[in-house]
């Protein structure tokens, strides 16, 4: 009996779960840094706004 399908399936599950485990925190870090960048940009705009209103 050939067990190739079972072995290949098990190793594919292993690879897929580890790939998710590898990518998931990277995407989270990227998202947090992007959120920080956007927050900084918002604060910069907010601090610049009163000067524009005075004009």
């Amino acid at each position: 009996m050939s067990y190739f399908g079972y072995v290949a399936g098990a190793y594919a599950v292993f690879a897929a779960v580890l790939a998710w485990d590898f990518l998931s925190p990277r995407l989270q870090v990227r998202r947090e840094l992007r959120a920080a960048r956007l927050r900084a940009a918002r604060e910069t705009r907010r601090s610049a706004a009163p000067a524009e209103l005075e004009r």
């Binding site: 079972y6 072995v7 998931s24 925190p25 959120a35 900084a40």
Partner: protein, 252 residues
């Protein structure tokens, strides 16, 4: 001050931890991939087929290290959670909560590969066997910890509540470990012993040792990466995070 103690205190600083995690994560992954490459090569192409199970036994080299990790990670999570509860160390809260998805991933691998291995050997994908059932409960415990941590807005309160659940859940670990001894089980008994004679042939041991080491390094890399992400989320709005997010714009 003792350099080791000083380093430990420094590690509690969020910016210092971020630099530490960013620096060491790739090295942990690199070690894991190298060991895993060697281990998988040995497991799939070098080790002879088992005299009873044929090539299906090669699933052991991912199933067993993942099963060990699923329990090890839960124990470590509870350890960090206990430190966080007693001494209120924020980094330990972060590390405890970062353990949960990694442990859940290893538990999913254990259950899925065990099920795939069980089909040709036992003739069924699943059986409500004590070992399988307790491992499934372990997955639910991980999901419970993750769910509780995500359900409470305040990060510190969430970590404390989820940490407490993980400490209570530690009681499950000896039940999983000894389930094949305490009850009649379809799952095979202990064949690999850290101390004492294993009933597995020596020629089959090297890839297992490599894969066990590889999963440890993988866990270390993943733990640092996830803890770094949570640390950034908790520290959002702080100057050091803003500097990190926009280094080119703020550089002199």
């Amino acid at each position: 001050m003792n350099p080791l103690v000083r380093w430990f205190h420094q590690l509690g600083s969020p910016p210092y931890f971020d630099r530490f995690a960013a620096r060491w994560t790739p090295w942990c992954y690199l070690a894991a991939v190298a060991l895993m490459g060697a281990g998988l090569w040995q497991a799939l192409f070098v080790v002879p087929a088992d005299y009873q199970q044929g090539d299906s036994f090669r699933i052991l080299y991912i199933h067993v290290p993942s099963a060990w990790m699923s329990m090890f990670v839960f124990g470590l999570m509870a350890f960090y959670a206990a430190i966080a509860l007693v001494w209120r160390i924020k980094l330990c809260e972060i590390l405890a909560m970062a353990c949960a998805p990694i442990g859940a991933a290893f538990t999913v691998i254990t259950l899925a590969t065990g099920s795939i291995w069980g089909k040709p050997m036992w003739g069924t994908w699943w059986d409500w066997d004590p070992r399988l059932t307790t491992e499934l409960i372990l997955l639910f415990m991980y999901l419970g910890v993750m769910g509780l941590y995500g359900a409470i807005d305040d990060r510190r309160n969430a970590a404390r509540a989820a940490g407490l659940l993980s400490i209570v859940g530690v009681a499950l670990l000896p039940v999983i470990r000894y389930s094949v001894v305490w009850w009649n089980s379809l799952h095979q008994g202990q064949t690999i012993r850290v101390f004492g004679q294993s009933s597995m042939d020596d020629s089959m041991m090297l890839p297992l040792v490599l894969m066990v080491a590889a999963t440890k390094f993988w866990f270390a890399g993943s733990l640092l990466a996830r803890a770094r992400a949570d640390n950034l989320r908790r520290e959002a709005g702080k100057d050091w995070v803003l500097r990190l997010a926009a280094p080119a714009e703020r550089a002199p």
